[in-house]
Symmetry: C2
């Protein structure tokens, strides 16, 4: 390009697009792989800026009719498949080297949603043969008590993954507590070094945060192409919004992050081919926020009271499901969408950590 | 919001906007401060999602006429002011504790643009009283030689900032080499931990990368409000595009990152209130890419041959300056825009590092 000062048409042509999209990135078959998500380093295609003819691709989604009944992306089923492959691998590990992965969870307080998540993790771990340890603290515990528990897990050679169930009570310094977790056991992937490595091209984090990884896996396993798509992420939390946006960008989507200071978020959301909502606001995303044919990943898990439900509440998403299904081409439900994937990815990260520790490849 | 399932209007109202925008974020006066950029932690306002009435702010920029002659943002002048304040502080440091900050640069090869940058850094350091050390290696040097030089600077107590002039020759592993630099002396801020801390709310990196920090400083010193604005960053390099997008988001802009896989970048760029181009492609951004009244920061420094010039080449930006000045409300020129700011921010980071080392506050 150097020396050619005025391009014929002021637009960029993604010249790598055709060459790579169906080979490197969206693997249609995956025999021995537990998940479809490729290694992040394999995604690091060089940005080759070009400025030839203007390209106005329509995504395959857009080319279709406007009258959708969205495909429901069954996170429960996809997660089940992943868990079953993890179970096989854990069993093989036990057989070959007499070891199993170990996961430790620290829970503070009695938030009912947190308790539900931890219960799910316990059951899921045990089902796949991962050893599970848990320490529970009362709401009014001290930072020091939590940190001591984490240090013990750091030193425990039978533990390969540690997580603190978030959110923590206000009086505890979340950042300080998470920093105590050994980087090698940070299966949640929330350590700033992990996030930095996730953000930077040419680097690979030890762990990709579970929920963002689950979102990408849902897309890949549903045959949604990410490269070149406009993706909008609603929310920028350290846990979901931020790493999801970084991961989508690493998969070569054009990403916009919406937050509470965004003006006219509805308009921006309506331009998304892939819309990920992680705002934690029930029914924030109405039908008018959705582009016809878009793929929606609803990360919201908002508990609302429901006396008919077993636990006195039920979870609903950020997306007004009824409206969105009439406009989107595919959508993850709540519950049964991202939630089960988060747990599956946690088990996957724990297994990967144990494999690294034991230098086990199978 | 919990329990209120269907918001009256599907839009978010940035309720913090009015309260904070003119106080915390865009400081109109700054007496003793060297730069206007506030501490990143001070920017961490909680996202308070709301879904009341639809808000369709027009930025003050948009409200104006479409016939612009863009204000030229004079990076040279702004940088000069910053350097002069740094010089005062270095001089005070010398007077009070008999110490000065020290900066070390490693240069590999003979790229003429790299040589120019290093020359500028030498002159600028000496002018403000920062001690400057440099090690130059030939193009065909080994990774080991470069790493050894960096280790020596890591251990040198008179050095508070170390940088490797990028890009490095292809045969050298950039990531590996940059990782050798001690985190406390990484004044370029390229360490993944720094980038992770920049990305995450509630965290603060030891150093914000110089060019992105320079871009934000140019905007702040030119009275451009960032919060709530649509910002588009063209390019996603680890050095400029990525950290600039993270920094803009931390300042509560709604950020979209364009890259070579983006479809129809022209259309997306044209929606930006703040357009930052860091693609490294001369004249990529034509007039048709610019929203009337937008503010443009041109980070491109593309050398093109020019026999009339002293060094046989001159630098031009990513933006077609002539076309953009008729549409934008403000624009940084190349040269004389971001370039001088990068150097000023490097000196600033080096001074801050020395102040931390000596526990010096003035």
């Amino acid at each position: 390009m150097r020396g050619r000062l005025v391009p014929t048409l002021a637009a960029l042509r993604p010249i790598w697009l055709r060459r790579c999209s169906r080979t490197t990135l969206t693997l249609r078959t995956f025999s021995n792989q537990i998940i479809k998500s490729p290694s992040l380093l394999s995604l690091d295609l060089a940005d080759s800026w070009s400025s030839t003819s203007k390209q106005s691709h329509s995504s395959s989604i857009q080319e279709n009719s406007n009258n959708w009944t969205a495909k429901i992306i069954d996170g429960k089923e996809i997660a089940e498949g992943i868990r079953s492959r993890i179970a096989s691998e854990v069993s093989r590990m036990k057989e070959l080297i007499g070891q199993v992965p170990g996961l430790a969870v620290v829970l503070v307080g009695q938030r009912r949603d947190s308790e539900t998540y931890v219960r799910n993790k316990t059951i899921a771990s045990e089902e796949v043969g991962i050893k599970f340890k848990m320490t529970v603290f009362p709401e009014n515990c001290t930072e020091c008590e939590v940190c001591n528990a984490l240090c013990r897990f750091n030193e425990d050679p039978s533990i390969h993954g540690i997580l603190v169930q978030l959110p923590l009570p206000q009086h505890l310094d979340e950042g300080k507590i998470l920093n105590v977790i050994s980087l090698e056991k940070d299966v949640d992937g929330f350590h700033p070094l992990n996030i930095g490595n996730l953000a930077m091209q040419g680097m690979e984090p030890l762990f990709v945060p579970c929920t963002p990884k689950g979102c990408i896996e849902l897309l890949l396993q549903s045959g949604v192409e990410i490269m070149g798509k406009k993706a909008v992420v609603i929310g920028r939390s350290n846990i979901v919004g931020l790493p999801t946006s970084l991961l989508l960008q690493r998969h070569h989507a054009t990403v916009t992050v919406l937050h509470a200071f965004t003006k006219n978020p509805e308009k921006i959301a309506r331009e998304a081919d892939i819309l990920v909502s992680a705002a934690g606001v029930p029914n924030l995303v109405r039908g008018s926020w959705v582009k016809p044919g878009a793929v929606i990943v609803d990360v919201g898990t908002n508990p609302i009271e429901d006396w008919r439900s077993e636990h006195g509440y039920r979870l609903i998403g950020d997306v007004c499901f009824k409206e969105a299904t009439r406009i989107a081409s595919a959508i993850t439900p709540v519950p049964g969408g991202v939630g089960p994937m988060t747990v599956a990815m946690l088990l996957y990260n724990t297994l990967e950590s144990a494999k690294r520790t034991f230098n086990f490849t199978c």
